[in-house]
Amino acid sequence: MSYIEFKNVVKEYTVGENKIKALDGANFEIEKGELVVIVGPSGAGKTTALNILGGMDSPTSGEVIIDGKHVENYSERELTYYRREDIGFVFQFYNLIQNLTAVENVELATQICKNPLNPKKVIEKVGLKNRQLNFPSQLSGGEQQRVAIARAIAKNPKILLCDEPTGALDYNTGKQILKLLQDTCRKENMTVIIITHNSAIAPMADKVIHFKNGKSENIIINKEPQSIDEIEW
């Protein structure tokens, strides 16, 4: 049994009279410590899948099994606990707390976990030692995203979920971020799932899941994933 199992997951939204199926029987499996990239056209249901995976949403039907536990049956509180202990999120728009410095943003996340990493060390790890006392507004987008990643990994989660983490960044900065994620995956043996519109980076992943019309159409396993440094696009 895989670490993460997504079985026949359906997510329906009701807008007025219409029912929109954001996920229409998605199936995939992810192993522990894998770096997974999810690609697909806009509206394919990537974000929806990731949100369900991250415990921010529940599926309409289907099973979501993580580490042998049925997340789809979790209550609101259990989901919160799950987010708190097992999941790290990185968003396209960073979503840092504006009123907190870089290190404080990290610290905020660690306040509630059982086994957090040292915020300062994490900040150091993402290469922002010198900027740790800066407020988000004083940081560039890339730096902010790095803070966001630091915030996510400082919680020492089992799974790191990133929804278009480089979407708002330029090429180099994006690359740095992806590098950071790859490193984290490899060094900390963390399961990392990245949504991207840039299929060019697919080679860096252990597994690439293609989404289309709410379904995981194509799952490719890279026997030999490349380091992001080697990938150009």
Partner: protein
């Protein structure tokens, strides 16, 4: 286009329902309170002016101890400004209901009363002499109703029918009396001095031609509203004129009454003399009666002696006579015995004689026989041979017989002689005896005659004795009766004379009193302008108080409300930036975009303004007025929208809503469209000053630091919240403090400071010697613990050019501390009353700006003397100066006379105290008693209206505080939705999310609360000042408990808001909020 516009607006309102409602609510609340508090004062003024005018209330009332005559009335009519003079009668009587004796005041009205009319609330106007009108208080509080028949009693020794033609009346109407707006009817000499109600009777019911009171109507009456200051000014000059007339008329009346009374006293004195004469006469008569009785008794005595002497002599005489008679009788009896014996012997002799005669006869017969026989025998013999033996025998026998016959014959003849002798002797003896008998008979006859005579005489004598005795007895009885009558008369006389004497003594005392009174009466006129009418003054004062309240509280309130609405509107427009941008991009003109918000805010502002003004002017005013109405008997409030108030409210409202919307929209529109399209960048984070002090900052927990920084990040929110919360806390605090302080005053003034239970008023001012008896009597009552005597009056005091009218109290330095605590307010050290100077009350000291050791001028103006202040004492009601008798005598230059007795009772309840008061009042020298308990209750009641304002403030402040907190929180959550969603994603539990937000609220509340305390202290001062009347001292004391309570109240609101906001927090959708920016 336009309809689309309006439609869009309504859609917007519908979409933002809560916000719109809260905006309307804020405006409403601010306006409501502002207009309510500011309108009530002018409304009340208008109401009262209209009321006084409608019922044609007189401008001046004159009272005089001696009453008024028609000449007085005519004299007043002479004054130019006077348009109408209405003499009337006032008489206090007792009304009894369910065992409670209530002193009430009766007033006269005429059938067609034009001035001082009364408002008929129920029933009809008075028509007949046996009908009465009754004031609403008696109906509402004492349960009388129309149709009831009531009976009036005089309540003292006076005969009520001397004053009133009828004593029973039927209630025909329930009335409200414009001349008694304060419900205070004045004091009376009846019962415990408190008048409980008022009756109106027809003027013809009063049996007197001396008016008790005169009402005057002047020509300014209808021209100037009576509550205006101008009215008072103008009226004062008229009052002066009336007073001037009063000076001369009063003197005349005084002289008349004096002479009349003097004559009365003289008459009374004469009567006493008459009575005394009569007594003397009856005494004399009694004496004469006594003498007569004595004489009679003497005569009886002599009579008795004479009688008994005569009786003895007569008795002896009678006895002798009787003895003689007895002797005669004995002799007679003896003689009779002898005669009887002789007779008996004679009779025996006669019998013997008879027997002898019979024997003789027998012998004769036998002889005859013998003879016969002889003869026979002889014959036989003859026949017989004579010698026959037989003859011989016979012859012998005849011989013998013859012999015998012969001897018998001889014997017989002898016997015959003897018999004849005896017979003769008997005859003789008989004759003798008969003579003796005759003599005896005569003797007896004489004896009987004598005896009869004796008996007769005796009878006659006995009769005479009886007669004498009877007459003696008669006289004795007469004497006894006389004595009885005499003693009855004597007893009667003694009783009567005692009665008469005590009556005379009473009368003498009465005369003494009357003389005393006469020496004290004054015909002085007490001219009372309407502006001095008790109720009128109180009402005016209250008006001013409400006015000041209206200036302090609601302004504060309104500012907060305006700030909240500004924040709300700003937030709303900022949220709409993308819409604005789109519209701008689509080519809408700036004005049309602005107009949208103008319309939105205008609708909110007008709705709020209208609601607020209507509720404020028609409901709040009424609530406040009703509170004041407890104290008054006044008509329903004439409610009106106060234009000035409305204009101010409208300006503030429009500035804080519409203008605010315009400015902000313009500001937004001035940004580049592209910039507008993006959401407003979240506020940047910044270090706050606190972080510079590492010592403190590092001590905080991480999340606490976050909260602190957040608080300072949203400056507007910080500012708003602090002002809002502080304002509310301050309002609540000052409200509670005021209540606290007022509550305290009553207990302090009447519990601690004036610790006596009863104030007993003396009938007139008297020296110690005069009041001593009454005082001792009071002290002897079991229920009375102690009592002392004081003089309490008013006079003037002056210092630093400030002159004040004050009460002074002269007491005995050793005793006064048991009745009135003279002490320093703060240290509670007691202050001694001594001959070195005076002790004055704290507020007076503050007003005069003096301290211990300073000298002040005291006494009636013109005759003031400098005195040293030896102490400043705690006091809350009225201005007081305390002094010793010798200081008094120094100041006033006359011997001290006392007018009050103060008493402490032995823990009595109200009923017992009232009973005690009635008991004490029996003393003639005591005119009235006021129970401190009652005074206290009245005072507390009089402050109830203040309390309503306080509660209204607290209530509205709470509501405002609630709205402020709610709004701020709601804005806060909306603004920070993304941030909150983020931390939710991070795995914060709901309660952690709440505390993340509400920790900030709590901190804000604490800051606001603390600022509120400071603010409260600043607001409190002016509020207290406005609550203070001339005579009340409200100490501004910091009270931590009150602060804690007001703080807690605000805190509770925070917590309630938090609870409501929790739901909003839970509803925040992470995915939705974190979706790529718009």
């Amino acid at each position: 286009m336009k309809t689309a516009y309006i439609k869009e607006n309504f859609r917007k309102i519908n979409k933002t329902k809560t916000r719109f409602i809260s905006l309307v609510l804020i405006v409403t609340l601010g306006v409501l309170f502002f207009s309510g508090m500011n309108t009530v004062s002018p409304d009340m003024e208008k109401t009262m002016n209209a009321y006084l005018k409608e019922y044609n209330v007189s401008d001046i009332q004159i009272l005089s101890e001696l009453g008024f005559t028609d000449e007085d009335v005519n004299a007043i009519k002479e004054i130019n400004e006077v348009t109408n003079v209405i003499p009337s009668y006032i008489y206090d009587a007792i009304l009894e209901k369910d065992g409670k004796r209530m002193p009430v005041r009766t007033n006269s009205v005429s059938k067609n009363q034009t001035v001082n009319q009364v408002q008929i609330l129920e029933g009809r106007y008075i028509e007949k002499e046996n009908e009465c009108l009754i004031d609403e208080r008696l109906v509402d509080e004492r349960g009388y109703k129309i149709g009831d028949v009531i009976t009036l009693e005089s309540g003292n020794d006076d005969d009520i029918s001397e004053t009133l033609k009828c004593t029973t009346y039927t209630i025909v109407g329930k009335i409200r009396i414009p001349t008694y707006i304060s419900k205070y009817y004045g004091s009376t000499e009846l019962e415990n001095g408190e008048l409980l109600g008022c009756l109106y009777l027809l003027d013809s019911v009063y049996n007197t031609d001396i008016y008790t009171s005169i009402y005057i109507k002047t020509n300014i009456s209808d021209k100037i509203p009576k509550l205006n200051d101008e009215y008072q000014e103008k009226l004062e000059t008229i009052v002066d004129k009336v007073e001037k007339i009063g000076e001369t008329r009063g003197k005349i009346r005084y002289e008349n009454v004096y002479n009349e009374k003097y004559e009365e006293i003289q008459n009374a004195k004469n009567k006493i003399a008459d009575a005394q004469n009569k007594l003397r006469e009856s005494k004399e008569e009694l004496k004469k009666a006594r003498e007569k009785l004595n004489e009679l008794s003497h005569q009886i005595y002599i009579g008795q002696i004479t009688f008994s002497k005569t009786e003895i002599i007569t008795k002896t005489l009678f006895e002798q006579y009787y003895n003689n008679l007895l002797e005669a009788k004995t002799k007679l009896d003896d003689n009779t015995g002898l005669v009887t014996d002789s007779q008996e012997k004679l009779d025996a002799d006669k019998q013997k004689l008879e027997v002898a005669k019979k024997e003789y006869a027998n012998n004769e017969a036998e002889l005859n026989k013998l003879n016969l026989e002889i003869e026979k025998l002889l014959k036989i013999l003859e026949n017989l041979d004579h010698n026959s033996s037989d003859y011989a025998i016979l012859n012998r026998k005849i011989q013998y017989l013859e012999q015998q016959y012969q001897s018998g014959l001889k014997l017989l003849s002898e016997a015959k002689v003897q018999l004849e002798n005896a017979d003769k002797e008997i005859q003789e003896t008989q004759q003798e005896l008969n003579i003796a008998k005759g003599q005896l008979e005569e003797g007896t006859k004489e004896y009987i005659k004598n005896n009869n005579e004796y008996q007769n005489k005796n009878l006659q004598y006995q009769g005479e004795v009886k007669k004498t005795k009877d007459s003696l007895e008669y006289y004795q009885k007469m004497l006894e009766n006389g004595r009885k009558t005499y003693y009855t008369n004597l007893k009667y006389y003694e009783e009567e004379s005692e009665k008469a004497n005590s009556e005379i003594a009473n009368k003498e005392k009465e005369i003494q009193d009357a003389e005393n009174k006469l020496s004290k009466i004054s015909g002085e006129w007490n001219v009372i302008g309407l502006y001095d009418n008790q109720g009128f003054v109180a009402f005016k004062n209250d008006l001013e108080k409400v006015g000041i309240m209206g200036k302090v509280f609601p302004v504060m309130f309104f500012v907060v409300a305006a700030l909240v609405s500004i924040t709300t509107i700003t937030r709303m427009i900022e949220e709409d930036r993308s819409t604005i941008a789109t519209e701008k991009a689509l080519g809408y003109s700036k004005t049309s975009i602005i107009l949208k918000y103008v319309i939105y805010t205008t609708i909110a502002a007008i709705t709020g303004l209208a609601l607020g003004t209507i509720i404020g002017s028609y409901i709040i005013t009424n609530i406040l007025y009703e509170a004041y109405r407890i104290l008054y008997s006044s008509p329903d409030l004439l409610m009106e929208i106060n234009k000035n108030c409305l204009i101010i409210a409208a300006i503030i409202t429009f500035v804080s809503t519409v203008l605010c919307a315009i400015i902000i929209t313009i500001k937004e529109l001035n940004c580049k469209t592209a910039e507008l399209m993006r959401p407003k960048a979240p506020k940047e984070g910044k270090e706050i000053f606190l972080e510079k002090c590492n010592g403190i900052w590092n001590r905080f927990s991480f999340l606490f630091k976050v909260s602190i920084r957040n608080i300072f990040r949203y400056k507007r929110r910080l500012f708003m919240a602090v002002i809002g919360i502080a304002g509310c806390t301050a309002l609540i605090y000052s409200g509670l403090s005021l209540k606290e302080s007022v509550d305290k005053i009553a207990t302090k003034q009447y519990g601690e400071i004036k610790s006596y239970d009863m104030q007993i008023n003396l009938d007139y001012e008297m020296d110690y010697e005069t009041l001593k008896e009454s005082l001792e009597k009071i002290r002897e009552i079991d229920e009375v613990e102690s009592a002392t005597y004081v003089r309490e009056k008013s006079t003037d005091i002056e210092k630093n050019g400030i002159s004040k009218s004050i009460f002074y109290l002269v007491g005995q330095p050793e005793e006064i501390s048991d009745y009135i605590k003279l002490q320093n307010r703060k240290s509670k050290n007691s202050i001694e009353l001594n001959d070195n100077g005076i002790v004055i009350s704290e507020k007076l000291a503050n007003t005069l700006k003096v301290k211990v050791g300073d000298k002040v001028k005291i006494g009636e103006s013109g005759k003031q003397i400098e005195e040293t202040i030896t102490g400043i004492t705690e006091n809350y009601l009225f201005n007081y100066v305390y002094m010793t008798p010798s200081v008094y005598e120094n100041i006033f230059g006359e011997e001290i006379l006392y007018n009050e007795i103060l008493a402490n009772t032995n823990k009595l309840n109200e009923m017992q105290e009232k009973e005690l008061a009635t008991k004490i009042k029996e003393d003639d020298k005591i005119s009235g008693i006021s129970l401190v308990r009652v005074t206290n209750e009245e005072y507390i009641k009089s402050l109830e209206s203040l309390m309503t304002i306080v509660f209204l403030c607290i209530g509205c402040a709470s509501l405002l505080s609630f709205i402020v907190l709610f709004n701020l929180n709601s804005i806060n959550i909306e603004e920070r939705q993304r941030e909150l969603a983020t931390i939710k994603v991070l795995g914060f539990y709901d309660n952690e999310v709440s505390s993340y937000v509400f920790r900030e609220n709590v901190i804000l509340t604490v800051i606001g609360g603390l600022v509120g305390l400071i603010l409260g202290i600043f607001i409190l001062g002016p509020i207290m000042k406005s609550g203070e009347v001339e005579t009340i001292y409200l100490p501004v004391e910091l009270n931590w408990i009150t602060f804690a309570v007001s703080f807690a109240i605000t805190m509770v609101f925070t917590l309630i808001t938090d609870k409501i906001m929790n739901k909003r927090l839970k509803k925040i959708d992470m995915i939705e909020s974190l979706k790529s920016v718009e």
